[in-house]
Symmetry: C2
């Protein structure tokens, strides 16, 4: 018997309870054991709720009950969720979570405790909602040296960018519509500024490269500066603008970044629209493989949580031991040194002078025609160190023939 306590009865918590109730029989069959929901912890009242007989506001009801051997943490954040998770693991209980902030922040410590106590700390739901990615990356692709990951990991920003591109909205309108439709939160900062994607690529990279990648050191840009014009021009040029989260391993160092990019429309991620997520993984044997689906939502996320619960039930006496090394301060590459191209669009006072200058400092001779934007120039730079190219873009702001740098986005083929 696996006795479960769900901590936090919000969106994901209710989804987990719903899935367990709905598919109880097939879940028990697949788990080879009875999955018994014993407690739901939440500080709020749910009067008349069908689950009220198992609800409690007292954590000790759970932690003092020796029958509870699996904790589902769906509280979120790094406060009380951290405290409960640590307490659960230290007391020899398995923990399943969807909490990306906690895993990205305290992953190494919590995984170490889980390893010492021979229990599981599983978090498939923390990245990509219901898309199976952590386990496939760690287990199915184990024969590979993973060389890079490129992903769309945030449904909110992808929804906003898609509706800007398809429906000709500016950013503010698209954001408001996303909020009205329930695809963006009232406070959308974590999504639109890229923090959510940043934590997720940190988790994926840690799994893929076997060393803890600290999200605090990943350069992260959001999508607030993307304009309707950017989208219109990208479309005309057969590009898509996406908020990409990507990383690669070079020697024993990792490079990771979150930023909006221009993707050629033939790129595997270019057609990932609306709230969908996709993760493109490259390995030395497999080549490219992609995982695609709904990256958020009550039931998809619950699907991943319950998948982890079943996994634990089948392997209750042994931990999975995701092998992350301890924190290292120096395992991230200087992102300024990593080579990239930029797509640049400028407003010019004197087109010929500007072209000559751009040719001189960027070595660019080909300019992209922008129908309907006669006083503008656009070009794609050669590949070079990020810092050098962005420095050159900064210089453009100071020359007389250029009145404004309208867009500078990394371009990915």
């Amino acid at each position: 018997m696996v006795n479960i306590a769900v901590l936090g009865f919000g969106v994901v918590g209710t989804g987990v309870v719903e899935v367990i109730r709905k598919s109880n029989e097939s879940i028990n069959r697949k788990a080879g054991d009875n999955i018994n929901l014993k407690y739901i912890l939440d500080i709020r009242d749910f009067p008349g709720h069908p689950e009220s007989s198992i609800m409690t506001k007292k954590p000790d009801d759970i932690f003092h009950d020796p029958e509870v051997n699996l904790i589902v943490e769906t509280i979120g954040g790094t406060g009380i969720a951290y405290e409960f998770t640590k307490r659960a693991l230290l007391s020899g209980r398995h923990v399943v979570t969807s909490n990306k902030e906690l895993v990205a922040t305290h992953g190494p410590e919590l995984l170490q405790i889980a390893k010492e106590k021979n229990v599981h700390y599983l978090f498939e739901a923390s990245v990509g909602g219901g898309i199976p990615i952590i386990k496939p990356l760690y287990e199915c692709l184990a024969a590979n040296e993973i060389t890079s990951i490129m992903a769309i990991l945030n449904g909110t920003t992808n929804y906003i960018l898609t509706s800007m591109a398809k429906e000709g909205k500016d950013f503010d309108t698209a954001l408001k519509d996303a909020q009205v439709n329930g695809y963006a939160e009232a406070n959308p900062t974590a999504d639109i500024e890229g923090h959510d994607s940043c934590r997720k690529i940190a988790i994926l990279s840690s799994i893929a490269y076997g060393m803890f990648v600290d999200y605090k050191h990943i350069p992260t840009e959001g999508i607030k500066n993307i304009t309707y014009d950017d989208q219109k021009i990208a479309q005309a040029l057969n590009f898509k603008i996406k908020l990409a989260a990507y990383s690669k391993v070079l020697g024993n160092k990792v490079f990771a970044r979150v930023c909006p990019v221009m993707l050629t429309s033939s790129h595997a991620l270019a057609n990932v629209e609306d709230v969908f997520n996709a993760i493109l993984v490259s390995g030395d044997a497999i080549g490219d493989v992609m995982f695609y689906g709904r990256g958020a939502g009550k039931l998809p996320t619950a699907s991943a949580v319950v998948g982890d619960i079943i996994d634990i039930a089948k392997n209750i006496d042994r931990s999975h031991m995701y092998v992350w090394t301890e924190k290292q301060e120096d395992n991230l590459l200087n992102p300024g040194e990593v080579e990239t191209r930029y797509f640049v669009r400028v407003k010019v006072r004197n087109s010929e002078e500007a072209k000559n200058y751009i040719n001189k400092i960027f070595g660019v001779t080909e300019f992209i025609g922008l129908l309907g934007y006669q006083d503008q120039l656009a070009f794609i730079t050669n590949k070079g160190p990020d810092k050098e190219i962005s420095g050159n873009i900064d210089k453009l702001k100071e020359i007389a023939s250029v009145s404004k740098v309208l867009t500078s986005l990394r371009a990915i083929e």
Copy 2:
């Protein structure tokens, strides 16, 4: 120590050896044990080969060696491969394979033996090459009732269809080019007639729905009748023609089919080009999730085989027990009763008369304009039982105003 014997040193077998040699250290670390390649069995000579010290032509060298605890079967087919697999499992050895014919044909018996002997019989490589699909389907999505699968499972036919569409080739030229480029075998029957896809959808369906789906009962059509005109017209109408393998569960019965289909270009599978494979899985909690990558090739396939080897090393004392029920003759739905739409293109003698007739028997009033094909009509039927619609299409062949039915393909939105 896991002592491995590789049976069959063909494309996949050499790939497995290559991956184990190349990434030995990281594989051992992830497996938590030493993966030791002890034998390679092949009836051929490989004079001067670097692995010649572990090569043998005598199966008994392997089966009489009690140290060998894991057999990699990469022989293919259902002859000697069946015999060796059965012998290996009965003698308490784990078996990993890429052999889809064997799994699709003798899966229930072999899985039953594996279960009785508490050993693993794993076959991640049998579907989708290196794409992780069997384990994600069985484990990560275990919280779901899987409701349907739609997939492109054969790289050869997808390559041919893509080059017909992109390069304006007819079928025979595209097939020849695929053979020259190594994407089609000298005898391409199993691929182009859909048999390969059929075995793979049978395996996936058996895993997804928890009951053995016998490939012999899955209606299967290949791509030989697809013409250059079909491709040109599909493109103009924003469709893609793909060889689809699909199945769904209805009550306690399964419907499965392999056939070329017209997919709207916004369908998740429509942009799967060249030799790539993709599998779209729908579950009651997850919604849609897609797995995409190279469905064949030496190293991608070896990646999946070695992933299974690592999995076994980590769980050497317990079997996975993929739960398939025994063969049931009556678990497949009558495919004629399943609802579908068809795209139909006919050559007409009298357009108005033909339209009237089509309107009368199909209830269709909208016809698709075919620029450059003045003596032709195209339309998409309403949804109805497959047998009824295909029967009506057959009737078209007999009326005076229609001189020929050029195309009839199931249409999928």
